[in-house]
Amino acid sequence: MVELEVIGGANGQCGGSSDPCESAGCQCDSAESDSRRQFLQQASTFALGAVSLTLFPVSVAEGEPAGGAGGGLGTDAQPPMYGFLVDTEKCIGSGKCLTACRVENDVPEGYQRTWVERYVHFKDGTVQVDLVPETGYAGSDQPPIDPEQVERAYFVPKLCNHCEDAPCNQVCPVHASFTSPEGFELIDTERCIGCAYCVQACPYGTRFINPDTGTADKCTWCYHRVMRDEDPACVEACPVGARLFGRVDDPDSEISQRIAAIPTSVLKAHLGTHPKTRYLGISDEVT
């Protein structure tokens, strides 16, 4: 799993500290001092490794640059930072993103890493919210809505908000929920105990316990693809560009320029989670 590569890479670097003698170019002629140094080195490595595994696994992972798969992006000292912009004015409810996500991430039936809500305000004052089918409305057996009865309607794609102050991360008892160096909220599926506290803590309903793995699951913004310099699957599949992903630390990127130019908002802002998934064109009725 990609999540594990982050943890593994961090620990690997921690355990593989370089020999200070070698780096200084000096030679050690005594076999005894060699073995003592080797012993001390191994002991300290082991101790540091143990500490990193027990107390500070996340902080170590966060402190290191993206290892392995992350090498393809951003060679700056600071890791690249990403954001997601959902343009509800463009979304047409095709459902392409839903299938792309399910196929890309092997999402089990009955659960969603991403979904699209349809808000329909009828002229009689009724508000209907429902889920866009994966096939889109055209391919589903849902009865069509009479356009004459509709005052206004729009689609709202939902996904993990990758909050800066993520409550899911805060409540995880074993550091299985963690923040990647690039700001992705991820799950270490080898560490997760499946207590579901993070599912309860997420205000947006984006987390679930995967029935196949018994661990927490959610949208990762397709971290594995992004580390390969690709867009998230849902972004790539969207036929109208309603989902925009990119680097927010680059002022010239499309997402940065759009966020700078147009007022955007986040979901449930009053909870202080500071989502990194931003929305364009939604009203306060969207939860």
Partner: protein
């Protein structure tokens, strides 16, 4: 403007089962029973002497099984020790392992000290395997002179004093576990830890009244009126506190009528009407409050006081369970869309099903029965008092 219900797709799978209802229920009984034993060992309430040992062993028996519902709930139980090995300091759940371990240690040592003289006497008077068993239990400490017992007594008091804050933290923390979830307006209130703690004490006292009356009846003895009366009065006081806090919490939610109030109002009036309105408030709180008033007068016949205290205790045990149910299940009945409700699945035979829940609730009682066979839990009221022991 009318709205058609809508729930987020993942919310149709409520992640916490009846096991998470049992967990605060059992830890509540643990904390409540310990408080009763502390009332005797620390605050010298002599009237509680007949149940002091029972309270301590009851607390230990329930504590021994407090982790079982959590283990059954975990989807990866084989990784449960990650909570102790790689704990996150920002997680309420991570604190459980440490608080629970500390409490269990205090309980085991206190129980051992309380029963040590009896264990040594059994080791000396019995022969063969039974004597060996008690010698092992004595851990090689066979001195039961008056001086040694006086030291034990002091240690018991110290442990009982230490145990009170640990018991409070143990259960207050359980309330915090829910109260700190800002995503859920039904849980997110600073009163939650306090409410959990007070209702824990309520459930512990109620359980002891029932256990005391049941064991007395099984032994063909009469439960001590002074003891039951004192327990009933404590129960009344803590029940007043618990009911007031729960009522105030709800009143404040309704009065403030914030953005999430419509879904909470619907939750209470449509989905929890029976378990909250009828069971928790009416039958489980108001009726027991009236019944327990009989313990405040000496004019009523003892049988009436015993009956009303026992009935009130039974209703209170149901009420506290309903309270845990209403919090844990109620908080998962509505979607985080705040636009619709979901079904709470209940099964008989699954790992987290009703049968497993019933077995878990029975196990501490079975352990208590076994403990009663090994240790002299029963302590008649007319036997030596705490003052004598000191």
């Amino acid at each position: 403007m009318s709205e058609i219900p809508f729930v987020f797709p993942n919310d149709v799978h409520p992640p916490w089962s009846i096991m998470i209802v049992l967990y605060p229920y059992i830890t509540g009984l643990v904390a409540g029973a310990f408080v009763v034993s502390a009332l005797y060992h620390v605050f010298h309430r002599e009237a509680l002497k007949p149940v002091a040992r029972l309270a301590l062993v009851t607390s230990l028996c329930f504590c021994a099984f407090a982790t079982l519902p959590l283990l059954l709930h975990l989807h990866r139980p084989e990784r449960c020790f990650n909570v102790l090995v790689t704990p996150s300091v920002t997680s309420a759940i991570a604190g459980f392992g440490f608080i629970y371990s500390a409490y269990m240690l205090v309980l085991v040592v206190e129980v051992w000290l309380v029963f040590r003289p009896a264990i040594v006497e059994q080791a000396n008077s019995l022969t063969g395997a039974k004597a060996l068993f008690y010698r092992v239990l004595a851990l090689g400490v066979t001195d039961i002179t008056d001086r040694s017992r006086a030291i034990d007594s002091r240690l018991i008091r110290v442990l009982a004093i230490m145990g009170i804050p640990i018991a409070c933290v143990l259960h207050g923390y359980v309330g915090f576990l829910f109260g700190a979830v800002k995503a859920n307006p039904w849980w997110s209130t600073a009163l939650m830890p306090v409410i959990f703690l007070i209702s824990a004490i309520v459930s512990g006292i109620a359980a002891l009244i029932l256990l005391y009356q049941f064991i007395s009846w099984r032994r063909g003895e009469t439960a001590d009126r002074e003891c039951v009366g004192a327990l009933a009065r404590y129960l009344w006081m803590f029940l007043v506190l618990a009911a007031s806090l729960e009522g105030l919490e709800l009143l404040q939610m309704a009065y403030e009528a914030g953005g999430e109030w419509p879904i909470l109002r619907a939750l209470l009036t449509e989905h929890l009407a029976v378990s909250y309105g009828l069971v928790q408030v009416l039958i489980g709180s108001l009726v027991p409050l009236l019944l327990l008033l009989t313990s405040f007068t000496r004019r009523l016949p003892a049988r009436l006081v015993m009956f009303s205290s026992g009935l009130a205790s039974l209703l209170i045990l149901v009420q506290v369970f309903a309270m845990r149910w209403n919090v844990v299940v109620g908080g998962q009945l509505f979607s985080k869309s705040f636009r619709g409700f979901v079904e709470f699945p209940l099964h008989w035979m699954s790992r987290e099903g009703l049968l497993a829940a019933a077995v878990i609730l029975t196990l501490p009682l079975a352990a208590l029965w076994v403990a009663g066979k090994i240790l002299p839990i029963w302590q008649p009221a007319e036997a030596g008092t705490l003052a004598d022991a000191r």
